[in-house]
Symmetry: C2
Subunit: 221 residues, 2 copies
Amino acid sequence: MARDSKGAARSGSRTAARRTTAPRTRNGGDQLRQAELLKIAADLFAERGYVATTVRDIADAAGILSGSLYHHFDSKESMIDAILSSFIEDTLATYDAVLAEGLSPRATFERLVQVSLGRMTTARSAILIYQNESRFLAEEPRFAYLREAHRRFERIWTGVLERGIEAGEFRPSVDPKLVYRLVRDTVWAAPRWWRPGGSLKPDRITEQYVAVLVDGVARHD
Amino acid sequence: MARDSKGAARSGSRTAARRTTAPRTRNGGDQLRQAELLKIAADLFAERGYVATTVRDIADAAGILSGSLYHHFDSKESMIDAILSSFIEDTLATYDAVLAEGLSPRATFERLVQVSLGRMTTARSAILIYQNESRFLAEEPRFAYLREAHRRFERIWTGVLERGIEAGEFRPSVDPKLVYRLVRDTVWAAPRWWRPGGSLKPDRITEQYVAVLVDGVARHD
DNA sequence: GTCTATATCCCGATAGAC
DNA sequence: GTCTATCGGGATATAGAC
């Protein structure tokens, strides 16, 4: 990152949005331990912010010393890279699965809102990191895949909106690009205030959000 | 901040959400120069993130040396404090003015969306900073006024929603707290992708956002 | 796979001359 | 009001022993 550039080793090449190699780790060995460390790092990055989290913080939370982290990862940057790219990969796969269900545009739209909010329970920290950091990271060559992912997300959502307008389910005055931004900002912002374990369930949020986004707050009778 | 604590002098006392004193500056003198420096700092904080922006960055952009900044401000923290508290003060004043117009709940709701999006043009950097940093800052005693401000924002929006339900303008099934969060996250997120000077005007965004939030994307005929 | 020890650098902030 | 010079600390990352 520009905010974190000491000249860390830039490792392997990659495709645009989906990696064909695993360029982020240093040893080929214990995938399980790496996943554990990434979870610890993700929680800290989400809670304190990426720049404000030190490698010592991560090592402390993992019960090891900071130097030992570098046996598993090239750099702090490689850690957030691994967190974000796997979040994006999983989310795109989830969206693809929704599209493959072959539902109506309106039902597809509702399902997309639902599964996006559902990611809160499975990838809360990653969403927070994606929300807080990707705007800064995306400017760097290493994180160009974030821009490509943004484009893919946009195409998926605007595609559904366009098909809904064509099918007569959505108002013709809907601007797919602007409405996409509204919906995206809405669903990805939820982990900022929602916390797991509370009495507020994601299903309740989904119900309210779908109701407003599809039918608005106004009465229509 | 926890991420930035070197024990900078904590200056004057304050009320919860509105300051009675001006505790953030070091010299009583040139208010104009201070405002200039704050604008420079705000733009950098917004663009790069608060933690990643150094006092040297700010001084460079202002054409002075970093030590000279401390003639105007106690600390870097005092700068973001000044930026955020004046943003909140102005925004609350704007909201109060809308409420004082005495419009119907629905019209008031639409006006609140409009003026919130309008803040993009007058306080874009401050909104970005508020969005990106206040979740971390609010935990510290110095920034307790952020939590109080959150509560006031929430009361304003949920109040309008409740009155709209009572008046029969809004659906009774609307959950004011959840819908408030949806709307808030939506309007404050817009400066992340909107840029001044482009062909996309705030009025166009307002039109689309109001349409979706009030009537949804679905056709109702 | 982790630790000891450290290199190298840059951070926020200060003191005092001009 | 700005500059010169610098303090003290903490940041990422590395080398090599165990």
